[in-house]
């Protein structure tokens, strides 16, 4: 199959991400990867839950002293909205509207970038305001490993989208790059799935007690 064949909205297949063998393989391989990612994050959540508020002395701040609802709320809204914008991008991908797909992916990247800025502000705030660092306590190590790993996923997701957009800027949408965009958007949704558990388990449950 000619991967670089030109398509129009009318000749574009219904499931472009799974039309080629490479696309099918990517799709399957990526879901296997997401199963592995689930386990990876589970180990970090388990460690965090076991070590939450475990500090060497009374002068260390605990979860309920540090976390602030407004900040977490803004970050949650940003990431959730970015998940919807990447759904819009895939909607236009399936309709073979390359320009709109690029636009929505760009919005997704900007929202992700805003999320990242808030996270950097948050970490910086904890370090300087509460002396809550990676090495200050078992609680600190577990917290930064879990939330930081998620943040690193956001960075990778942003880099992935950006590279795809730059590399395919002039190529147009075809069966070569459609599976690539699709898989990247799956990754982005998975990042939001993990964040749902982080804002629930780490922040909300951390503030309740």
């Amino acid at each position: 199959m000619d991967m670089n064949k030109k398509y129009t909205a009318r000749t574009w297949p219904e499931s472009p991400e799974k039309t080629t063998l490479e696309g099918k393989n990517k799709f399957l391989g990526f879901w296997l990867f997401l199963g592995g990612e689930t386990v990876l994050f589970a180990t970090l959540f388990a460690t965090y839950l076991a070590l939450k508020d475990k500090v060497p002395s009374n002068d260390h701040y605990l979860a309920a002293d540090m976390f602030e609802l407004p900040l977490v709320f803004i970050m949650t809204m940003l990431l959730l909205t970015s998940s919807l914008t990447s759904v819009y991008a895939m909607y236009h991908m399936k309709n073979h509207n390359y320009q709109k797909m690029q636009t929505w992916l760009l919005i997704t990247v900007l929202l992700g970038l805003a999320f990242l800025c808030f996270e950097i502000y948050e970490f910086n705030h904890y370090v300087h305001e509460f002396h809550h660092t990676f090495t200050s306590s078992a609680f600190g190590s577990a917290f930064y490993t879990l939330v930081g790993f998620h943040g690193a996923h956001v960075v990778i997701g942003l880099g992935w989208f950006t590279l795809l957009l730059v590399r395919n800027a002039k190529r147009g949408l075809n069966l070569y790059n459609a599976p690539k965009f699709f898989v990247a958007s799956l990754y982005w949704h998975f990042i939001d799935v993990v964040w749902v558990f982080i804002f629930t388990v780490v922040y909300l449950m951390g503030m309740v007690g």
Partner: protein, 109 residues
């Protein structure tokens, strides 16, 4: 092949596919609205200062519901051909559950 799915003949059912995609997108926006709504409820529960005996289960159910929407609608798991994807993901989720259960029960210092 006579029994090919609709994807084999995109020209004929173009209008139908457009309409189907539009309807699906409307469903996506609805699930987004539900996710936002559940997020609001979750934050309100924390603001309202419920006892954790009540708050924890509600928060976890809200999170699980949001994740189901995310997986089945945003990530299209409700579509055909996601059997193996579900097998991979749920295998991971099973190990995840057991791992967290273990750490919550045998780590006690």
């Amino acid at each position: 092949m006579a029994h090919e799915t609709t994807s084999a003949n995109p020209k004929v059912n173009y209008e139908y596919r457009r309409r189907k995609a539009r309807d699906e997108m409307r469903g996506q926006v609805t699930s987004f609205a539900m996710m936002i709504f559940m997020t609001f409820i979750a934050f309100i529960i924390v603001l309202a200062d419920f006892d954790k005996f009540y708050a924890f289960p509600i928060l976890l159910v809200l999170a699980a519901a949001q994740v189901v929407l995310q997986l089945y609608y945003f990530m299209h798991m409700s579509h055909k051909g996601h059997g193996t994807a579900a097998l991979f993901l749920y295998s991971g989720a099973l190990i995840a559950f057991v791992t967290i259960l273990t750490f919550l029960t045998i780590v006690w210092w």
